[in-house]
Each structure stands twice: as structure tokens, then as C-alpha cells.
């Protein structure tokens, strides 16, 4: 593999797939991504969900988190019934008189927010620790990796449950718990690719130039470990959303007056046997669509970013 001079190493410079003359790497990657129709579906769904989640306060007929707008006399209405306030409950209401459509839009917002933010933090923290450990090697690396092993040997849901049982409910608390249970994945992933990259000539060259350690680790080593990280992070967003939904379903997690998708499903679960299917089915469908869309995108990214699979 030919290497550019160390001083002009950008993230793209050492990419395994090299850009052909006259065609930018991003474009090549994009066109590679959209090679399959499923990738279109995944990306399209994801964009759609993001747009409705962000626009929820403007498009939802009701603010489901404002208790003054709810009326339990409108509780458990079937889809299509009219509200006392005049609008129609297209997806019905739950037992608190919450419009399910609004609740799903807002819930989606919370679920995506929790998923993305916790992933960003976990990824930043985990990747920094992982790449630093790999570069340092020796005892530091062994120690960090044993901590990672220890953490990965516990089921994530178990740790998160215990933490939240102690801390109580709250979106901030859920995010912190998710960061704590997820950083280890990134540390492990980054360390793997950093170990390979560490032995390469460009790192050696950077060392010969007596560049500061932190510069080598974060400017040279880390950018070259990004592709697998992006893939893991994308899939982990879906994982984080599912984890948050599970926690809320189990009665820890977000506050009951600000339900996420998981909590909405739990609320409706009590009524499943009694035929009030809409309370948990529609949030369930929304959750499945969100996770499937993210996973489709993540899978395709993996194919595109993996040098071994390309050509």
C-alpha cells in the first residue's frame, strides 16, 4: 500500500479504497451505497422518521406531554373517534386520553434522541479509550481491555436496569446509563483496527518526525479506524433505541408523563387481551420501522465501507 507523506495525512488519504481521478470519494461511496433498492428504502425511511420526529411539535395534533391538554374522559377511544377538542384521534387514545398519533411522534423524537445522543457520547468515549489503549500497548492496554471484557460479560440490560433502579427515571439518566453500557463496544472495535494500523509505515513515519503522541493517536491513528466505527455506531443507535424501549417497558427509564415508544407499548400491553390493540400496536410498529430502517442503513454502510467486500 502506497502511503502519502506523513504531514499531509487526512482521514481520506489512507483509505483502503482509493478515489479514481476526477471522482470524489464521497460520490463513489454514495453511488455504491445506493446500489441496492433496500438501501433506498432504509435511507428513505430513516430520513422520513427524522423529519417527523424533529417536526413533531408542529405537526402533532396534541402535545401529549402537556397534561392540561389530556382528558381521561377521552381515554381508550378507538382510532377515528373525535376528540372533545375537535380534532380526530386517527390512531385512537390510550387510557390517559393521549392521542396515539401525537404520542408516537413525540415518542419517536425521544427514542431517536436518546439513541443518537447516547451513541455519540459512547462512541466518542469508547473510541478515544480504545485507540489510546491500542497505541499505548503493554499494561495499559491489558488493563483497559480487561475492563472492557468485564463489562461486556454482563448483559447490557442488566447493568442499565440496576443503574436506573437506583437513579430513578429521567431522559438524562437513561442516556448516561446507555453510555455506560455501550462504550465498551466502541473501545473493542477501535482497538482491533488500531492494532493493525499501529504497525503501518505512516505511523512509523509520524513517530520518526517526533510528533506528539496525542497528535499521532487522534489525528493519524483514529481517522484510519473510522470505517468500522461508523458501522458499529449506526447499528448501535438501533440497539440503544431498543434498549431504551426495553427499559421503559420494564418500568424504569423515561418518566410516565413523557412516554417514549417503549413506555407507550407497555401502557397498551395491559389492554392487549381486551381488544384495545391500538394502544400498543401502533407504537410497536413505529419502533420496528425505526429499528429496521437504521439497521438497513447500517448493513449497507458495512458493505460499502468494508474493503474486503468491495470488488
Amino acid at each position: 500500500m502506497t502511503q502519502a507523506l506523513p504531514h499531509d495525512l487526512g482521514p481520506a488519504a489512507a483509505e483502503p479504497i482509493r478515489a479514481e481521478r476526477g471522482e470524489s470519494l464521497l460520490r463513489r461511496r454514495l453511488s455504491a451505497y445506493f446500489d441496492t433498492p433496500l438501501a433506498f428504502v432504509g435511507a428513505g425511511l430513516l430520513v422520513l422518521l427524522l423529519v417527523v420526529a424533529i417536526a413533531a411539535p408542529w405537526i402533532a395534533p396534541q402535545n401529549p406531554y402537556d397534561l392540561a391538554q389530556l382528558d381521561i374522559m377521552d381515554g381508550r377511544l378507538a382510532p377515528g373517534e373525535k376528540a372533545a377538542a375537535g380534532f380526530t384521534y386517527y390512531l385512537g387514545t390510550d387510557e390517559q386520553g393521549r392521542d396515539m398519533l401525537s404520542a408516537i411522534l413525540y415518542g419517536l423524537r425521544i427514542s431517536l434522541f436518546v439513541g443518537v445522543v447516547s451513541t455519540l457520547f459512547a462512541c466518542t468515549i469508547g473510541a478515544s479509550i480504545g485507540v489510546a489503549a491500542a497505541y499505548a500497548g503493554g499494561k495499559v492496554e491489558s488493563f483497559v481491555m480487561r475492563v472492557v471484557d468485564l463489562q461486556l460479560s454482563f448483559p447490557a440490560i442488566l447493568i442499565a436496569l440496576v443503574l436506573l433502579a437506583v437513579w430513578g427515571r429521567g431522559i438524562d439518566k437513561v442516556i448516561i446509563a446507555l453510555v455506560i453500557v455501550q462504550w465498551a463496544y466502541y473501545a473493542r472495535t477501535v482497538r482491533g483496527s488500531a492494532l493493525v494500523e499501529r504497525g503501518r509505515e505512516y505511523i512509523e513515519a509520524a513517530r520518526c518526525l517526533a510528533l506528539p503522541r496525542s497528535r499521532i493517536v487522534f489525528r493519524h491513528l483514529l481517522p484510519n479506524c473510522l470505517p468500522p466505527l461508523i458501522v458499529v455506531a449506526t447499528v448501535q443507535v438501533a440497539h440503544a433505541i431498543a434498549l431504551e424501549a426495553t427499559l421503559s417497558f420494564l418500568g424504569v427509564g423515561v418518566p410516565v408523563t413523557e412516554p417514549s415508544l417503549g413506555l407507550l407499548i407497555k401502557n397498551g400491553y395491559d389492554y392487549l387481551l381486551s381488544g384495545k390493540y391500538w394502544i400498543s400496536t401502533y407504537p410497536g410498529v413505529a419502533l420496528v420501522i425505526a429499528i429496521v430502517a437504521i439497521n438497513l442503513v447500517g448493513d449497507r454502510l458495512r458493505d460499502v465501507l468494508n474493503p474486503r467486500l468491495s470488488r
Binding site: 424504569v252 408523563t257 381486551s274
Partner: protein
């Protein structure tokens, strides 16, 4: 033709013989399993219900918690501080020994010695100063002062056999530690059917923790023999599987079918009965008067405790639409409450009606109290303790928010909730209270009497409400032997507390049972499921 008719007749006779033999087993799916067979281990509903099958008490209470003679055939107050119990002659323990006053003394003596008890029965023996047994069937109990609740207390704990438990010949009651107690049995010893010796209508046959508990009819029972030869209790703690077990015929009867499954159960051709319970669901407001006390979770009051103002408490009571909660959240299976116990229990008044829903009046009162724009509040609530507790809390929060008190709900599993509540982390919380004794003094002492550890007042008064008149009336009632007089005092105490809005009652839980069409059960106020009260046929 003749032959065939005979055959038919024979067949019918056979069928008649065969069917009852099968039907004499009763399988019950219970919502929570007893934590021990030991009748003195844990003073909690499911244990107390099981206890009544095997170990009996001196005084029984009926479905409406009215006391009637049990192992004691009669009792009377000899003077202000002496109660005399005449025991029932001819009662035998399941191991064949006679039941005598010695067994009662032994049981009272053993209660404080039970190890690791999560909640013991000393609450029912604390009033006893001395016990004498002038003859084997007479028990004389002395108390420090007038103690009208003694017969009720005697209905709370079960009697175990002194002989089978290894009591010494010199057994003698002494307050603070009896003489000649020997080595009392450990709680786990009772898991052995040979050691679980009681006088009850059933005997323990088999016990596998978490799976099944089988009882066998005690054929030497002194009272009316129960219909079922064997009874099997199966703990099925999740509501869904419990309903499924009943619908599929795995069990004949279940406790607490969830309200939302009533339609499904009725459609499956099963019966549901409901009975008002002695459990009140209420909201307590922090009324601690400490000068530095910052009510946690309250914002927008400039550091003042808004609940010290009666107008605020009244406004909050008026803001709640109890009928809507009962109708929409409880599916009609509850009763709006105006005081701490439902009529007709002892100490209740017919004319104490639930507060009328009046959001406009509530807003006006808040404005008068100096909160025209309301304030912010966090309402604590358990999410797995009472029927639909978390949903009720949300509905209450919704109603508070409508009159301007912006309310959030902090709900959690019961164990976390109760430990946080006991540390006063909630300035407003939703909880419930079931009055074991089924009379008003129990509820008042627990919920609205001023906290005072010595007489055990205000144990559960975590709103720290304090009203001298309520305390005085209650204290007077607790030392009044005359029933009529005592009831009047308790009615008055309840009225004073309710009119001062010391606590906000929401509703009384209604306990449902579901079972096959071929059996019947009369709902009990104490929520117990008693197999010997389950009768065949309509």
C-alpha cells in the same frame, strides 16, 4: 328396554359417584405466594389468608370484618382492664391433642421470638400485660388501661400447639419474655406437614415453594367441614398468565383478575365477583412545619410549603374528578371515597360523601391562597403495588395540572417507592392503606394521627399531618370499651380530619375474583381468598 334402563340408571349412579370425587379438588391461582407457612412469620395478606386454613384464632371475622366466636366460644370485659375468654371445648389439633388455654399463652409467647420476621404480630399482642389460665378452657387477659380492641387483636394471629412445639411444663406468660418457652420452632420447620399442627379446617399436605401448596381436609375439624377434600394453591404472579390458567381450566378460581380482562373472562363463560375492600387509595401532602424544611419537588412558591394552607389542600381535593378515575381508569371497579374506610365498616358515617369535582372552585381557592398561577409539583407513586396505581397517579396529575398545579409523576417499583417515601422525598404521594381490623381507629392511627412512636401513632402518616382534635378523639376512642360510644368518637375524629383535608382520599379498591360457573364465593372486605368459604353450585 328394562335392561337398558337399568344400565342407564347404573351409569347415572356411577357418574354421580365419580363426578364429586373429581370435583372435590379445588385449584386456586393466587396473585402472591405466602412467604412462609409459619403463621407468626409475616403479617401480610397472603400469609394471613393461608394461615386461616391451618391455624385458627380465638376470634373470627366474617366477610364484612365483623368479629364472631372462633376458638373462643365467648368473651367479655370483666372490668376496664380485664378480658375473659371462654375457650371452645372439644377442639382438637390435627395431631389429636386437645386445644387448651396453654396453647394460646404459648402462641402469644412465641410471637416476639420469631427470627427475621419482615413484619411480626407483636402489634396484636402489645396490649397484653398478663395472661392467666384459671382452668384449661378459660383465659384471663389483663391490660394496662382500658383496651377495647382486645377481641379484634385476638383475631389477628393463629394458635399453634404448645405440645407439638416443645413447650416446657412450666410455661408462664411474662411481658418481655415468657418462662418455660423451651426452644420455639424455626419458621422453616412449619414447611414440614408433620410440624404444621393447627386446629383449622385444613392440614398442610405438600409445599413446594413457588410452585404449589396443597392442603388436605382436616376430618377431625370441630366446625362445619369444608366441601373440598383437597385444595391446591398455585402462585401465578403475572395477571395475564393467571387469567390464561383460569380460562384454559388449569385452575378453578383466581385472585385479582385485571379489570381490562373482565370482558374476556365473562365471554369465556366464567363468573366474576367483586367486593368492596378496606383499602383506601389516597394522596398525602407534606405538612411538616419545620422552619428550614424545603418541600422537595415543589417549585414556584418562593420556598414556602403550600400544603400548610388548608385552602390549597381543599383546592387539590376539589380538582380531582373521582368519578372519572373510577370510571375511566378503574373500569368502574372501585368506589369514590369521602373518608378512610367504606360504609358500613365500624366508625364510618353515611353522610361523608366524596368531595365534589369542582375545578373552578379549586382555581378560586388557589388564587385566594396566593397561588393564582399555581405551582409545580412532583407526585410520587408506586407502579406495581395497587390496582392501576401509576395510571391513577397520572390521572391525578392531569387534574392538578388543569387547575394550575403543574404536576409530574415520579413512579417506581413499590420497594423503592416506600423507602424513598419514608425518607420524605415526596411532598405529595399516592399510596393505599388496608385497615386490617376493619374499623376506623386503625386507619386514623396509621394515616392522620400525629406521629408519635410511643403509642405507635402516625406510622404511615408520611404527610406529617397533625391535628390535636383528631389525636384526642382517637386516643379517647381507643380507651372506650362501649362500642356505641367508641364508634361516635371515631366518626367525629374522621370528620374533623377530613374537613381539615389532612389527607385526600381518592377511592376504595374493589377486589375481584374470577372462577368457574360451578362454584361461588362471597367477596371479603379483607381481600382474603379462603378455600373453605368457596362453595359448590350456584
Amino acid at each position: 328396554m328394562v335392561v337398558s334402563r337399568t344400565a342407564l340408571l347404573a351409569g347415572t349412579v356411577l357418574a354421580c359417584v365419580a363426578v364429586p370425587a373429581v370435583a372435590q379438588e379445588l385449584k386456586i391461582g393466587v396473585a402472591s405466594e405466602a412467604t412462609s407457612i409459619d403463621p407468626h412469620f409475616h403479617n401480610v395478606g397472603q400469609n394471613n389468608a393461608l394461615r386461616r386454613h391451618i391455624f385458627e384464632s380465638l376470634v373470627f371475622v366474617d366477610a364484612a370484618q365483623k368479629p364472631y366466636p372462633g376458638l373462643a366460644a365467648s368473651w367479655k370485659a370483666v372490668d376496664d382492664t380485664t378480658w375473659e375468654f371462654k375457650l371452645r371445648p372439644g377442639v382438637k389439633f390435627s395431631n389429636g391433642q386437645d386445644f387448651t388455654a396453654r396453647d394460646v399463652v404459648y402462641s402469644v409467647c412465641r410471637i416476639p421470638t420469631v427470627e427475621n420476621s419482615p413484619s411480626n404480630f407483636t402489634i396484636a399482642t402489645k396490649g397484653i400485660e398478663s395472661m392467666e389460665t384459671p382452668d384449661p378452657l378459660t383465659l384471663v387477659v389483663k391490660t394496662k388501661g382500658p383496651y377495647p380492641l382486645m377481641p379484634l387483636d385476638m383475631g389477628v394471629f393463629g394458635i399453634i400447639s404448645a405440645q407439638a412445639s416443645g413447650a416446657g411444663a412450666d410455661l408462664k406468660f411474662k411481658k418481655g419474655g415468657c418462662e418455660g418457652l423451651g426452644t420455639p420452632p424455626k419458621s422453616a420447620d412449619f414447611n414440614d406437614p408433620a410440624k404444621a399442627v393447627g386446629t383449622g379446617p385444613y392440614k398442610l399436605a405438600e409445599y413446594t415453594r413457588g410452585t404449589r401448596l396443597a392442603l388436605e381436609r382436616n376430618d377431625g375439624y370441630w366446625g362445619a367441614k369444608p366441601h373440598w377434600k383437597t385444595v391446591v394453591f398455585r402462585p401465578i404472579t403475572s395477571a395475564g398468565p393467571r387469567v390464561a390458567a383460569l380460562v384454559s381450566g388449569d385452575v378453578d378460581m383466581i385472585e385479582n383478575p385485571p379489570i381490562q380482562d373482565f370482558d374476556l373472562i365473562k365471554k369465556a363463560g366464567l363468573t366474576i365477583v367483586q367486593g368492596l375492600s378496606n383499602r383506601i387509595i389516597y394522596v398525602h401532602l407534606d405538612q411538616f412545619t419545620g422552619p428550614d424544611w424545603k418541600t422537595p419537588g415543589v417549585k414556584g412558591t418562593d420556598g414556602k410549603n403550600p400544603f400548610l394552607d388548608k385552602r390549597v389542600r381543599q383546592a387539590m381535593s376539589k380538582a380531582i374528578n373521582r368519578d372519572a378515575i373510577v370510571d375511566r381508569i378503574m373500569g368502574g371497579v372501585a368506589k369514590p371515597a369521602g373518608e378512610l374506610l367504606p360504609v358500613p365498616l365500624f366508625g364510618t358515617s353515611e353522610d361523608r360523601k366524596p368531595e365534589k369535582y369542582d375545578p373552578e372552585g379549586a382555581k378560586k381557592l388557589l388564587a385566594e391562597a396566593g397561588y393564582p398561577n399555581g405551582f409545580e409539583l412532583t407526585l410520587g407513586s408506586p407502579n406495581d403495588r395497587y390496582i392501576n396505581d401509576e395510571k391513577v397517579a397520572q390521572a391525578v396529575a392531569q387534574m392538578f395540572t388543569r387547575v394550575g398545579i403543574k404536576t409530574g409523576v415520579d413512579s417506581m417499583t413499590a420497594s423503592t417507592f416506600f423507602s424513598r417515601r419514608n425518607k420524605y422525598e415526596f411532598s405529595a404521594y399516592l399510596a393505599g392503606w388496608g385497615a386490617d381490623t376493619g374499623e376506623m381507629s386503625n386507619s386514623i392511627v396509621a394515616l392522620i394521627a400525629t406521629q408519635d412512636a410511643a403509642p405507635g401513632f402516625g406510622n404511615t402518616n408520611r404527610g406529617r399531618y397533625s391535628n390535636k382534635t383528631v389525636d384526642e378523639l382517637t386516643r379517647k376512642a381507643l380507651t372506650t370499651i362501649d362500642d356505641k360510644e367508641r364508634e361516635k368518637l371515631l366518626q367525629e375524629a374522621s370528620k374533623v380530619g377530613m374537613e381539615d383535608y389532612g389527607i385526600i382520599p381518592l377511592h376504595f379498591e374493589v377486589t375481584p375474583w374470577a372462577f368457574r360457573k360451578t362454584i361461588t364465593y362471597t367477596p371479603r372486605v379483607d381481600q382474603y381468598t379462603l378455600a373453605y368459604e368457596v362453595k359448590p353450585g350456584q
